[in-house]
């Protein structure tokens, strides 16, 4: 495990590092944490991958899925097609839910 975690958030960043435990860091300045917890390293890796912080030292991305692995997971989740050509995998459940939200215009217009 990294002994130092150094990073700069683009803007204010909050890491949920435990139940009811959060750490908030100001944006635009470098932060150095000695002996960071596993939970903070994990949050920092996720936030780095999402583009909201830049980790300079101690980056851990072992839990972050690559684009290629994600696309493979999506293909599996979309599943095969029925005889009518509709995807029948578990992806469809969320896709239909989102389509219903879009159609209803819940909380505003959508794509």
């Amino acid at each position: 495990m990294a002994s130092t975690l150094a990073f700069t958030p683009q803007h204010e960043w909050t890491a949920h590092v435990g139940k009811d435990e959060v750490l908030t860091f100001a944006g635009g300045e470098r932060h150095e944490i000695s002996n960071p917890s596993k939970a903070l390293l994990r949050c920092a890796g996720s936030a780095h991958d999402a583009g909201v912080i830049e980790v300079h030292e101690g980056l851990s991305l072992t839990h972050v899925q690559s684009q290629e692995d994600g696309e493979a997971a999506l293909s599996k989740a979309m599943g095969k097609q029925d005889e009518e050509g509709r995807h029948v995998g578990p992806w469809q459940e969320g896709n239909l839910l989102q389509a219903a939200i879009d159609a209803a215009g819940i909380d505003g217009a959508s794509a």
Partner: protein, 245 residues
């Protein structure tokens, strides 16, 4: 079975910058969708999966707080137990999972809870198309970003297909399509035009208006902010129309 509205999905492109120097556009990103949803009121945001086993993923959400400042937070999913943001957001700009989930992930306002969006199994998140930009006091600003309308139906082509602007209440956005389906056109940054003709007219999909099964058409949006333009919190609705057997 004919093509249904749910078979037509608006996805992000591979490069969706939130600055004026990074590449904009490129190939389709089928792991992330574009979102134009406004939150009806300021609220904290809750995230929950439909699968108890989704405990190893994180979700990083970014939004504007009530005072207009941008903030992000990274939460760990806790399966079917709700996790809630500490920040109160006026609008969400992006939500990104660290990995795909076994369950469908719902992102909602705490009040209600009113669902903002769901992230289908196998996808990684959603984002607003134009993020972290502003007008200039003295010159007009032009921004260009791209999404993709994809026909996810497994066998049928969407024929006579046309991309329309369904709603643009602020009258700030015009659109244009890539010259070919599944094109990977990009620009050096979001303030550089891809060179297409942007306007409000309906746009015929290339390939004789056939959007084949599994194909996608790159849909560029041009946001024009006049000099000294005021702040906007608005929506935009793009629409893909067509015929199906």
């Amino acid at each position: 079975m004919s093509i249904a509205a749910s078979d037509l999905v608006f996805y992000a492109s591979a490069n969706m910058p939130n600055d004026d120097v990074s590449t904009s556009g490129g190939a389709i990103d089928t792991l992330r969708r574009l979102d134009f949803t406004k939150m009806a009121a300021n609220d904290t945001v809750r995230v929950v999966s439909s699968a108890a086993g989704d405990t190893t993923q994180t979700v990083t959400i970014t939004g504007r707080k009530a005072d207009g400042s941008i903030a992000s937070e990274t939460l760990s999913l806790n399966g079917t137990t709700v996790v809630t943001s500490v920040n109160t957001y006026e609008r969400l700009l992006k939500a990104e999972l660290s990995a795909t989930c076994v369950g469908t992930v719902t992102v909602a306002r705490t009040t209600g809870p009113t669902t903002i969006r769901v992230i289908p199994i196998g996808e990684r998140g959603f984002m607003a198309i134009f993020r972290q930009l502003a007008s200039d006091p003295s010159v007009q600003k032009d921004y260009y970003c791209k999404g993709f309308w994809k026909n996810t139906h497994g066998s049928l082509a969407l024929t006579s297909s046309v991309v329309k602007q369904n709603a643009d209440p602020a009258a700030r956005i015009t659109h244009a399509l890539d010259a070919a389906n599944d094109a990977t056109t990009s620009v050096a940054n979001r303030v550089t035009s891809p060179g297409f003709t942007f306007d409000d007219t309906d746009k015929n999909v290339p390939n004789s208006q056939n959007l084949n099964s599994g194909s996608a058409i790159g849909t560029w949006l041009h946001l024009l902010l006049p000099a000294g333009d005021g702040a906007w919190s608005t929506t935009y609705t793009t629409e893909l129309d067509g015929q199906t057997t």
